[in-house]
């Protein structure tokens, strides 16, 4: 037994001799590869955003005699929006710390606060979009505006689905508690939520701040 346990037990026979070709695949606990798989999804999502950034980089200065970033962007509003997303990142972090300690009520409270920050972000972004469209700066007005609405809109859509996912998981935890499956799901959403904040760094730097420099 001591000899057997020093080796990987899935690969030794009963006499402790190694088996090079096991008849059955070794057993893996449920969800052991979920986090890696979810990371792969995030990397592919990263490629979608890279393409949208490239499009914005190519046609972001084609104003077609229409409004330019300086006429449309309101930096204090973008700064407020950025702070909403940053606050939601730290509150999601606090929710994860509460989850590790199995403090369900505390975790649900932090998740709710995260959701409120997410909704504030979406509200401010929709207000900005509505204001731009009201001024005639619609997606079909120029190459710059098409690229802007697709890039920022895709990010906003991710935050929307992240918020829906957040509410779904709060209901799941409320009904089933902090079971391993729910913890795993919360860890996936944690990666997703922080990933969206990383994308937003690119958006506020290369779209809004660089737009005001032109």
């Amino acid at each position: 037994m001591s000899h057997a346990s020093s080796l990987n037990p899935d690969y030794v026979d009963e006499a402790g001799r190694p088996i090079y070709h096991p008849v059955e695949e070794p057993h893996h606990p449920e969800g052991h590869s979920t986090m890696l798989g979810f990371w792969m999804y995030l990397m592919s999502d990263c490629l979608i955003f890279a393409m949208l950034f490239a499009v914005y980089g190519v046609i972001g200065a084609n104003y077609a005699a229409g409004p330019a970033p300086k006429d449309l962007f309101d930096l204090p509003l973008v700064a407020l929006n950025t702070s909403m997303l940053l606050f939601s990142s730290i509150t999601y972090g606090f929710a994860m710390l509460a989850m590790v300690k199995n403090r369900t009520a505390q975790m649900q409270a932090w998740l709710a606060i995260t959701g409120v920050f997410g909704l504030c972000f979406l509200g401010i972004e929709l207000y900005e979009f509505a204001h731009m469209i009201h001024l005639g700066a619609t997606p079909q007005r120029s190459g710059f505006l098409s690229a802007f609405f697709v890039l920022v809109g895709t990010h906003g859509l991710h935050v929307t689905f992240g918020t829906i996912w957040l509410v779904t998981l709060m209901v799941q935890v409320w009904r089933k508690g902090l079971i391993p499956a729910n913890k795993r799901r919360l860890m996936c959403l944690s990666l997703f939520w922080h990933f969206l904040d990383v994308i937003w760094i690119g958006v506020f730097t290369f779209v809004y701040l660089f737009g005001m420099l032109r």
Binding site: H27, L47, M51, S83
Partner: protein
């Protein structure tokens, strides 16, 4: 024997699995948050006040964005070279390579295409 060994393995694996995921601590989240606030506030301040020339501001805010992305990766996404047996880092490096080639290549090619397709005054002398 076989079942017992199997069970040992499952427990071993589970412990290892738990150690694999770094959840961070209150301290690391606060360090990441404070660094992010500083790294966000300075670029906004530079652009809003116009304290520096546009070219210098552009370089500085690009550098701040790169640093802030790394800060988020370490303190919020808990990236390190060991997570998931190094596969997370390998996938990330591969993605960065593809992203840099795709974005820099697109912008470079389309810029030159744009410049070379521009109608110029030389057209009159080309006959």
């Amino acid at each position: 024997m076989s079942a017992e060994a199997h069970n040992d393995h499952a427990v071993d694996h589970h412990d290892h699995h738990g150690d694999d995921h770094d959840h961070g601590s209150f301290k690391t989240y606060m360090i990441g948050f404070l660094l992010s606030v500083v790294l966000t506030a300075i670029p906004f301040w530079l652009v809003m006040t116009g304290a520096l020339p546009a070219a210098a501001t552009g370089l500085i805010i690009t550098a701040f964005a790169v640093v802030q992305i790394i800060v988020h990766m370490i303190f919020f996404l808990h990236m390190n070279h060991k997570s998931e047996g190094g596969w997370n880092m390998l996938a990330l490096i591969f993605t960065i390579v593809v992203v840099v080639i795709a974005v820099a290549g697109s912008v470079w090619v389309m810029y030159h295409l744009n410049v070379n397709m521009m109608p110029t005054h030389d057209m009159q002398t080309m006959g």
